[in-house]
């Protein structure tokens, strides 16, 4: 497991890792474990605008299709294209190889961003 001290989590199970005004986002290890094998991701394209708290895509496992919500506001600068053919990276490496999007011009919105311990304490509520 990587060092998660720089990761912040939403109660809708996404994570965000800030790097200045850029950020990387994905879904938590807890979320991937609950979903089971990830089969398909519906993600926005480069240039799309995300708004904190709003739906930006879908993650689908055999069990269910779940909406993805933006932890922060920003513009998509990169999409993890590897996930189109190997979405199981979200299961095997949710914080590294299984990242979903990179964002530019990032700002925080109304969404509560928690550290890992606070997130895990509330994840099953």
């Amino acid at each position: 497991m990587p060092d998660l001290s720089g990761y912040r989590f939403t109660l809708t199970h996404e994570w965000v890792h800030r790097d200045g005004d850029a950020a990387t986002i994905g879904i938590s290890d807890h979320a991937q474990a609950q979903l089971g094998d990830v089969i398909f991701l519906d993600l926005p394209s480069v240039g799309a605008k995300l708004t904190a708290g709003e739906r930006f895509g879908t993650v689908e496992s055999v069990k269910a299709a779940s909406d993805l919500y933006a932890p922060v506001t920003g513009t998509v600068s990169a999409v993890n294209e590897e996930l189109a053919t190997t979405p199981e990276r979200v299961n095997s490496s949710p914080y590294e190889e299984g990242w979903l999007l990179r964002l530019a011009n990032v700002s925080e919105g109304e969404v509560a961003l928690l550290d890992e311990a606070s997130y895990l304490a509330r994840a099953d509520e």
Binding site: G36, F40, D42, T58, E60, V62, N91
Partner: protein, 344 residues
């Protein structure tokens, strides 16, 4: 764990993908003890069995079994079952979700001189499925498992446990199903795990059971068929033997045209990884022409698959499935989606 027909069952032990692929390439172990087992004994047993199911079980020799549907008077499917001819009568294996309905139905249709006994609660069922399944069971069995033909069964001792050993399954693979006393199931499970693990066998939950049976084109009662569906519409006309004599639903079935069913049960292969699910609309252009009955991801195929009912006269137009508002293109394909490679 999920609740299924009143039983707490695991959706997966590890990963649905890993469990699915283990069954296709090596072996998987299933606990199917929720299935119902009903015994018919006595001199009326054969007449009862023949009167209940649409397939012909009269000519079955001991140790042989067939897949069959139980119909109501309107030819609607009450359940789909496996009927075993056993030494002292018949063993009918029914869906857990239909057990209460089936028992009531069977008791209402007993021929004279038939003793019916519901043995479901005292009977466990473990299945080993996959290309390594026969070898795994053989390694702990006191009978010649490999000699059993498909749909053949025999009684014998497996890992010290008395079982009915049957060459049947619900995965599209070669495999063995073991019926035993419920008390003996835990040690039998442990012995099979011990024998199978070195050969790459995994325990398999309900999730992969569903993706495996769907790839193999096997119907699921309650999704693909119910009392409003006749066997011809469901593509199960091959199990209907009108020449065998009278049985429940035969009158109605004789008036139906097997070649022109009211609805057609089709397979759909998606061009993408999205997963079609039960109840989603099937589209021809913008028009809704049917509904997905079963859907899932074909782990052996790499794309989404579904079965659906469509009108019998549906023109050969491009189809799609409405997945959360997106019309995902789908190709109509023959069932099954997956057929196991023939042994060389």
């Amino acid at each position: 764990m999920v609740e299924f027909a009143g039983y707490e069952m695991p959706l997966r032990y590890s990963s649905i993908r890993d469990e699915h692929l283990a069954v296709r390439t090596r072996a998987g172990l299933f606990d199917l003890s929720h299935m119902g087992e009903v015994r018919l004994r006595g001199q009326g047993a054969q007449a009862t069995a023949q009167g209940l199911v649409a397939n012909d079980v009269g000519g079955l020799g001991p140790g042989h079994a067939v897949y069959a549907v139980v119909c109501n008077d309107d030819a609607g499917i009450v359940d789909d079952v496996i009927v075993y001819r056993v030494e002292d009568g018949y063993l009918i294996v029914v869906n857990a979700s239909r057990r209460a309905v089936d028992l009531e139905w069977m008791r209402a249709h007993l021929a004279l001189g038939t003793q019916l006994r519901d043995e479901s609660d005292e009977t466990a069922l473990l299945a080993v499925q996959g290309p390594e399944a026969v070898a795994i069971v053989q390694s702990v069995a006191g009978l010649d498992v490999a000699a059993l033909p498909t749909f053949g069964s025999a009684t014998g001792v497996v890992a010290g446990v008395s079982c009915r050993v049957s060459r049947t399954g619900y995965t599209g693979e070669d495999g063995i199903e073991l019926y035993c006393d419920a008390q003996a199931a835990p040690p039998l499970w442990d012995a099979l795990m011990e024998a199978g693990t070195p050969r790459g066998m995994l325990p398999v939950g309900l999730g992969a059971r569903d993706t495996l049976r769907l790839e193999a084109g096997l119907r699921l009662y309650g999704q693909d068929m119910d009392e409003t569906v006749d066997p011809y519409s469901c593509g199960l006309g091959w199990t209907v033997k009108l020449g065998k004599g009278e049985f429940v639903g035969a009158g109605r079935l004789r008036r139906l045209d097997p070649e022109h069913p009211r609805r057609r049960f089709i397979g759909l292969a998606l061009g993408a990884r999205q997963i079609p699910r039960h109840g989603m609309a099937v589209l021809a252009g913008a028009e809704r022409v049917g509904e997905v009955t079963s859907g899932g991801f074909g782990f052996s195929l790499g794309h989404g698959i579904a079965t659906a009912y469509v009108p019998p006269d549906l023109p050969d137009a491009p189809l799609g499935v409405d997945i959360r508002g997106e019309a995902v293109p789908a190709r109509r394909v023959p069932l099954p989606f997956y057929r196991r490679p023939r042994p060389v």
